[in-house]
Amino acid sequence: MQAATARRPEGLDELSLRRAQRGDERAWRDLIERYQGAVHALVWRLLAGRARHRTEDLVQETFVRVLRALPKFDPDGPASLSTWILTIATRLVLNELRRPDMQALEHEPPAAERADRDAERARLGAAIAAGVAQLPEGQRAVLVLREFHDLDYAEIADALELDVGTVKSRLARARAAMREYLISAGVHHA
């Protein structure tokens, strides 16, 4: 399942990681192909499914930064490679969202593209997209990292440079807002 692999990919084997850190192109390719699904999904969701061209640009930029910073990544450090890469992607997107020319995104409708098989699920997906899009950036990031990428509170706190208490409170507010939105849209069965 694509969704499953995109949540939190398995780690790169040690030798491939070391090769990638030394600039081995084949190992770079392995790394990108392993994590591209998760990074693309994260960026796409943080942009609430809008601005497809910016999504691809930011995914590419994420991996360029990952590869440049990779020699400094410590495999024995507190963050897994997966979390470290998702952190870079998250910070990059949040920085981009603060750019003046990205403010216009707020007025774009969420992406309508769907690949779902049944109409009910499609409607629910569209409602979730719209609900996530109306969340403040900070809440959206916490919700996406938690709900879609399985980062724990401490990892989210590190990624967003927040304390764990703030992560918990933002997550609670985001979930409450989403629940309210989905009920109002008539798709949430609480």
Partner: protein, 462 residues
Amino acid sequence: MRDDDALDLSAWEAPPPPDGLADAVIARMGGTAVGPAMPAQDDETRRRRWVVIAASAAAVLLVTLGTWIIVRGREHAPPTSGEVVATRAQHLELGGVGAELDRGADVTWRRDGATVHVEQKAGTAQWRIAGDQQVVIGAASASIDAAGASLRVEVPMNMSDTRVIGAATLTAAAVAMVTVVVYEGHVKVTSGGQTVVVQPGTTFTVPPPAPPPPPEPEPPVVGVAPVTTHGGKQLVAVLGLETADPVGRDLTEGLRARAKVGTGPYQLAAGSDKELADEKILHDCENEAPSCMAMIGDDLGADALIYGQIASPRGGYQVTLTLFDVHKKTIERSLTEMIPASEAMGVDLQRHAKDLWIKLTGTGSAATTCDADALEEKGINAESTGQHALALGQFEQALTCKPGDGRLVKLAFMSSCQLRNLGVARRFWRMLPPNEKQALLQMCIRSGITADDLDGGGASGG
């Protein structure tokens, strides 16, 4: 771990990433130093890069499309069976199953419905298998069963083995360990009657098969061998020379072939054909400090290491080799030699490999009057080019230097079968260890000589 107040948001599925992402990223990394520096880019620069990448991609797409249209006109589906020996890195597409083959990879395949049966005889291949496809890869003593998976299979084997196996069925002792790296999906590895499910993100190594029981009982080797366990010989690991040039790989294989012959004080340690660069990475070695090299040697179960580098100044290759004693943690010998570019391939390169081996290990002096190694090498080279009579002559001559040598007897037997010389074949057939006869018989059968012919005492040819 889920939270009590978690929502089910799974209906909001993200689209898949765009194709060619890795290519685009690596293209952007090209020409930039790998390091922590992150120069700022303005939008204009990015836009220009996108234009260049898009233009390149469009050109490639057009060429690919044109090629595809031409090819499709000739064939509508991937072939159901085939064989490839990659002379360079190449892609193999089998419809729902794809492989990136490294140079030297030797693969045969046969499709049976949704299952592809592969025999990966040598080399490295990275396999990608769609969810509705199944691939069963036979690699040395292992069988790898994968579906909806991405994995890398490494079957190292040296050149000498490849040639011998190409001419006969001497497989068991020749094949080194198999390494399976699973990136994603469901992969099972079966070896020695045991099946292991290899989880994504992990590496599984299948040890080489146990050698056939020797004609005379020897004490078993258990665990990591201490000094001198192979008939009084030290086990040596020849690490892949550090160079990006293919000459380095060929020279490494040549040195390993010498070690495998085992005529000097050294014998190749099983499963030790690793790259110096990789071993240094895995052992956190910045250089070839004795403590590091000793650690590498210990892990490989070797008493000695041979390693080195190749530089390629104008006109040739400068080879630096070191023989390292793992237990004493000292360099026993080192040398630097120049190989002219005109001699950096084929038989010439193997001759250099042999000379370097002799100089480094000091095995040459005793063999100046009757050099079995050299004769064997000539015989193998002759056999690989179909000169069976010449090969047989070399092996027989080598046997005069080393009477009764098991390896030479096998080689001579195989050449005599290729030559369809029943009389000579019978002579060597009688000298073969009984437990190896059946495997070697296949060569003769292909030449029309049966076991009855070899066992019979009737008319003899040649």
